[in-house]
Symmetry: C2
Subunit: 147 residues, 2 copies
């Protein structure tokens, strides 16, 4: 199932990314994300998408550095962590529904798909939360030193 | 499907909680959670479980205050946010597998179950992350004032 998900992502990257960005924009609404330009919003979203997908398509661990750098960037810009979490959840749902539709999966394959997607998104979720926490901890530490 | 999940949770609360706590303990390993006693670990885990389940069983919004209070408590004790996120993910997987097994769901019902569980866990996930962020932000703010 892992290869099936990876191939699906490779094959449908562009269309999936477009659908996902439409949902991300709706999620963002008039909140704090509204202050950045549409172009910037799209370029960051595309980077986020590629980091998420890279994780399953490629087996290397290079993506850890990528996630960290990405998290630092979005913390600086002021994207809330909850927004990234929702983004991953939307992505998961899009892939689940789309793959089910395309392959007409039965119950057993759906269970496998559910686990595969969970196993893929969880470490990414965890890493983004960690990068955010680190960035907070760094601030608290630097302030403590300055006190 | 919402009622089915709610009834399932009410009916199997004790057994599900026991299974979940076993997995939480394994997840915790020898990490920072190891410093608190087994009793304390269990009582916090049970509180976490009830907050998660309360969210779907009860329709009231009282749980928001509960989540906030819970988050403040675990931040104080030093439970990492990633651990709570993993906890919710384990819970999701346990419920999905168990309900599938018990009801022998076909493909259509599994898709509904997937969405129902996602829709239930996502706001909770979001709220815990927010409570954590608030707690961090408060610290940063208080330090800034003291500088």
């Amino acid at each position: 199932m892992k290869m099936e998900v990876a191939n699906f992502l490779k094959k449908n990257r562009n269309k999936l990314m477009d659908d996902w960005i439409v949902e991300m924009k709706q999620l963002g609404g008039d909140g704090p994300l509204h202050v950045i330009s549409d172009d910037k919003f799209e370029s960051i979203s595309r980077e986020f998408f590629d980091i998420a997908v890279f994780n399953i398509v490629d087996s290397e661990n290079r993506y850890e550095t990528k996630v960290e750098r990405f998290a630092e960037q979005v913390v600086r810009i002021g994207w809330p962590l909850t927004f990234l979490m929702s983004g991953l959840q939307v992505l998961k749902t899009l892939i689940f529904d789309w793959m089910k539709e395309e392959n007409n999966y039965g119950a057993d394959d759906l269970v496998k798909l559910f686990h595969e997607i969970e196993n893929w998104i969880s470490p990414l979720n965890r890493q983004i939360v960690e990068a955010y926490s680190n960035s907070w901890e760094k601030t608290v530490f630097l302030q403590k030193v300055a006190l």
